[in-house]
Structures are given as structure tokens and as C-alpha cells.
């Protein structure tokens, strides 16, 4: 669906993206993970044709992104962090504007509002919606026309856990429908939960890529097993035959409560690779 090779973007002398190679397969959720200022939004803008790259190639639907027609771009669904809604309009009216542009029926808009949990608020003006509800409305606007690729720029930024959960559910539902999703986030939990593949971006360069669990396993240098016992104490065992016997004994004695692996989180991996955390401002 998307193929980037040697993608560079400069603003003046500042290199924001530096030789990025990236591929997004159909039906997958791919995440670009990095701290603020890493170049995530710039990347989405280039992939959606809002911004031209300085060098390198970007192919979307097998075509150079610069040569995409209006019809091609109708296959995009885009939710940028700063895209607003019509505050004075109801949820229904907000979506109807885009439904009219794309030739989507009113019944579909009604169903979409029900699906994203805004069925009861469809007549409410957007100005009266909570931040989470507004995020869902913006998300619904991105896929009202059933696009082939959805680009989401920090879809859950600033949302409470409950709203975040409902946005995640919507994203997973769209994936189940066969949609390809490209999202940016600085939330490692979100990336681990949603993405089939992630790219860790730091200062315009991809520093690591792969399935979230594979990346974590790759950096599991401790190779230990952490055990929590029923008496409240913890113990660490090295991964080996001896440990298997010990665990088996603890199980038989009824003293073992939980077993944990010691592989690092994406946050830890990122910190190891770049020397700074994902939540840090760039």
C-alpha cells in the first residue's frame, strides 16, 4: 500500500526526516513511534500529499504520491492532531458535510454515529462534546467514506483512559473490516496494543523496526524470569533447565502466584537506543 525509500525532508537547514525506508502492507496497522518533534506529523503529511519531500520516493497505491489524483486521495481517511470540527454544528451535521462530498448516504452516517458511541449525541453541537467524544467524531469523519488507508496522527493524544479505550476499539474494528491503518503515537502501550509493526523514529531516523513483541524480545538482555510468590516476595531466575525444576517445585508447593518475563518495554528500548524517553519533548 505504501512504500518509502530514502525519504528526506528538510526545513531550511534542519533535516526533519533523514533517509527513511518504510513499507506498509494492506490490512495492517503500522505505527510510527517517537517523541514530540521526531518527525511523525511531517511523515504523515508527506504520505498524504500535504507536503512534498525533499528527496527520496514515496509510493502509495503503486503510484508516486505527487501524482495521486483527487480520486486516489478519496481512498485516504485522515485524522491529523490539529484538524478541527465545526463547533456550532451537531455531530450529525459535521459528518453530513463529508458524507455529501463523498456521496455517502445519511443512513450510513447514522450507523457510523451509533457504531462510535455518539448515537445519543448526534444532535448535540460539537462545542458541547467532551474531548474524547470529539476525538471519536474526528475519527468517524476520517472513515465515513470507507477509505482504504486511514492515517491517524496521535489519535488518542490528551484523552482519558476510557476515551482512549473506545478509540482503540474503533481502530481495531476498522482493521477487522480490512482497512490499512498508519498511525503515529508517542504512547508505547498504544503502539504495543494496536500495531502489527512499529517503526521507532528519533530525530528523523528510524532506529528500530518490527513487531512490538519482537523488538522487546530482541532487547531482552537479562533473559530472566521474575516470580511472585504467595507470601508476597519476588524472586528472579535465569532462563534455563534449573529454573524449570525450581518453578515446578514452587507450583507443587502451591507457593507460586505469578510468572513474569523480564523483556524490556518499548519505552526502555527507545531509551536504550536514543538516550531519551518517548514522553520527552523533542
Amino acid at each position: 500500500m505504501i512504500k518509502c525509500k530514502g525519504l528526506c525532508k528538510k526545513f531550511g537547514d534542519k533535516k526533519v526526516l533523514d533517509g527513511l525506508d518504510l513499507e506498509v502492507r494492506k490490512g495492517s496497522i503500522v505505527g510510527l513511534l517517537g517523541p514530540s518533534g521526531a518527525g511523525k506529523t511531517t511523515m504523515i503529511k508527506i504520505l498524504t500529499g500535504q507536503l512534498d519531500s525533499t528527496s527520496g520516493s514515496v509510493m502509495v497505491f503503486g503510484k508516486n504520491v505527487k501524482s495521486l489524483t483527487g480520486e486516489d486521495k478519496k481512498k485516504f481517511g485522515i485524522m491529523m492532531d490539529n484538524f478541527g470540527v465545526y463547533e456550532r454544528f451537531s455531530c450529525m451535521d459535521n459528518l453530513m458535510i463529508y458524507a455529501d462530498i463523498y456521496g455517502v448516504k445519511k443512513a450510513t452516517v447514522n450507523k457510523t454515529l451509533d457504531d462510535i458511541g455518539l448515537g445519543d449525541a448526534k444532535r448535540k453541537p460539537a462545542s458541547a462534546l467532551s474531548k474524547g467524544m470529539k476525538a471519536r467524531l474526528r475519527l468517524a469523519r476520517a472513515f465515513i467514506h470507507d477509505p482504504e488507508i486511514i492515517f491517524l496522527d496521535e489519535p488518542t493524544s490528551g484523552l482519558d483512559p476510557q476515551s482512549m479505550k473506545s478509540v482503540h476499539k474503533i481502530i481495531m474494528d476498522k482493521k477487522a473490516e480490512g482497512c490499512t491503518i498508519f498511525l503515529t503515537t508517542h504512547n508505547m502501550e498504544e503502539a504495543s496494543k494496536l500495531c502489527d509493526e512499529i517503526f521507532l523514529l528519533n530525530e528523523g531516523k528510524i532506529v528500530e523496526r518490527g513487531k512490538p513483541e519482537d523488538i522487546c524480545r530482541r532487547y531482552n538482555r537479562l533473559k530472566k524470569i521474575r516470580i511472585h510468590l504467595t507470601d508476597g516476595s519476588d524472586m528472579e531466575l535465569s532462563a534455563g533447565g534449573e529454573s524449570a525444576t525450581r518453578i515446578s517445585d514452587l507450583l507443587l508447593e502451591g507457593r507460586l502466584e505469578t510468572i513474569h518475563s523480564t523483556e524490556p518495554t518499548l519505552e526502555t528500548v527507545f531509551l536504550e537506543l536514543t538516550g531519551r524517553g518517548l514522553q520527552e519533548a523533542g
Binding site: Q50, G84, Y86, R88, F89, D93, I97, I101, Y102, P125
Partner: protein, 232 residues
């Protein structure tokens, strides 16, 4: 193309009754014209004085402020970018907003024409139509130049004062009358005087030329603004 223009017009019509600032712009002068013409009578007051006065002020204010406010608000809230990403072309958007503002203002002009002799109404509306188009172009220029609504208001205010109040003050001051000749609103005021009072146009070739030059100048300005800043 037509579909997207109609979507923009429909959106704006829906917004008319929710956006009090814009709504007031559209109804203020037509309403004041009706009230003043029917309540104030003074000795030696020219016939249809308030219709002549307010129609020019209407041209200089309503389309200017509303076009600038609509475009700058969409820019500020980034809803314009969403429309562009949904494959609405900048030209479609501008035409949609322009047609909407023009149509609503023409309804207002129709209300203002209620006191004018029926045979002069088509000419009056014709002149209003031209004046409104020029003001919409000016308003769109400001909307494109301004980064946000606040900046648009700061730009609209002086332009609006010049275009609306200079022709009005020219009635009372000869120096201002001399300066005001270069503005299309003053020439439109002269046209209105002729049309409303005796059905004739009342401006010569020079007046028509000034209106054309004004229009051409604002079209050039609009093109420059659009090419420099686009709609983003």
C-alpha cells in the same frame, strides 16, 4: 465541481442561523433601512435618504466582514484543511463561500429595495449585485491574508471604515468627497442616487471606469494573495 460548491453553500446556510456575528451583518442594514425610512421624516431630507445611505454601507460592510470571517475561521480551526483533504478544491470553496455571501446579501438588498419605485428596482439590484461581488473579493483577500479571525478583524476594520464611511462622510465634507471618488463604493453611491431618485445611472464614463479599475485591482490583489498564501 458543482457538488462540492453546493456542499460549501449548504454548510454556510446551516451556519447562518448558528453564527450570530455573521447573521447580524446580513440583517442589520436591511432592517435599519426599513425602520429608518418608515419612522424618520425631516424637512428637506432627500427622498429615500436612508436607502441610499445604508445600501452603500451594506455593500462596504456585510460581504467584506462575512467573507473574511468565514474564511479566516475555517483556517484558524483547520476545518478548511480537512475540506481540502476531502478533495474540495480551493476554487470550489471560494466560489461556494462567495455565492453564499452574495445570495444572502442580495436577499438583504431586495428588502432594502422595498421603498424604491418598482421600475427602478432591477437597476438598483443590478448595481448592488456588482458592488457586492467586488466587496466579496476584498473580503476573500483579507480572509486569505489573515492567519486567524482576530487578524482578519484587524484587517477588515480599516478597509470597511474606508469603503463604508468615506462615501457617507463625503455627503457632508467636500475634501472627503474629493478623496472618496477613487473608491468603488462612492461611485456606487452616485449610481444609487441616480437610480433611486430618477431612474438614471447618474455616473459618467469616469465613474464606471473607477468601478472597473477597483474591481480589477482587487482581483489582482486576490490572485496575488491566493498564489502567495493559498488557502492553508
Amino acid at each position: 465541481m458543482m457538488r462540492n460548491i453546493f456542499v460549501v453553500i449548504r454548510k454556510q446556510i446551516k451556519d447562518t442561523f448558528k453564527n450570530k456575528t455573521i447573521l447580524i451583518q446580513f440583517i442589520l442594514f436591511p432592517l435599519m433601512t426599513i425602520i429608518m425610512e418608515n419612522t424618520i421624516t425631516m424637512n428637506d431630507m432627500p427622498e429615500l435618504f436612508f436607502t441610499r445611505l445604508f445600501s452603500v454601507m451594506y455593500i462596504g460592510m456585510a460581504p467584506l466582514t462575512s467573507a473574511a470571517a468565514i474564511i479566516s475561521e475555517e483556517k484558524e480551526r483547520n476545518t478548511l484543511r480537512v475540506l481540502m483533504m476531502a478533495n474540495v478544491k480551493p476554487a470550489e470553496y471560494i466560489i461556494g463561500v462567495g455565492l453564499y455571501v452574495w445570495s444572502i446579501c442580495m436577499i438583504g438588498a431586495g428588502v432594502m429595495a422595498s421603498g424604491i419605485p418598482a421600475e427602478n428596482v432591477p437597476k438598483f439590484l443590478g448595481v448592488m449585485a456588482v458592488g457586492l461581488v467586488i466587496s466579496i473579493i476584498v473580503g476573500s483577500c483579507i480572509g486569505i491574508f489573515a492567519k486567524n479571525q482576530m487578524a482578519a478583524t484587524s484587517l477588515v476594520m480599516p478597509v470597511m471604515m474606508v469603503l463604508s464611511f468615506v462615501p457617507m462622510i463625503s455627503i457632508f465634507n467636500d475634501t472627503v468627497a474629493g478623496i472618496s471618488k477613487i473608491f468603488y463604493t462612492k461611485q456606487i453611491m452616485n449610481l444609487m442616487d441616480g437610480i433611486i431618485l430618477n431612474g438614471s445611472e447618474g455616473v459618467g464614463r469616469s465613474g464606471t471606469a473607477i468601478i472597473i479599475v477597483n474591481a480589477a485591482l482587487f482581483i489582482v490583489l486576490f490572485s496575488l494573495a491566493y498564489h502567495k498564501k493559498g488557502l492553508e
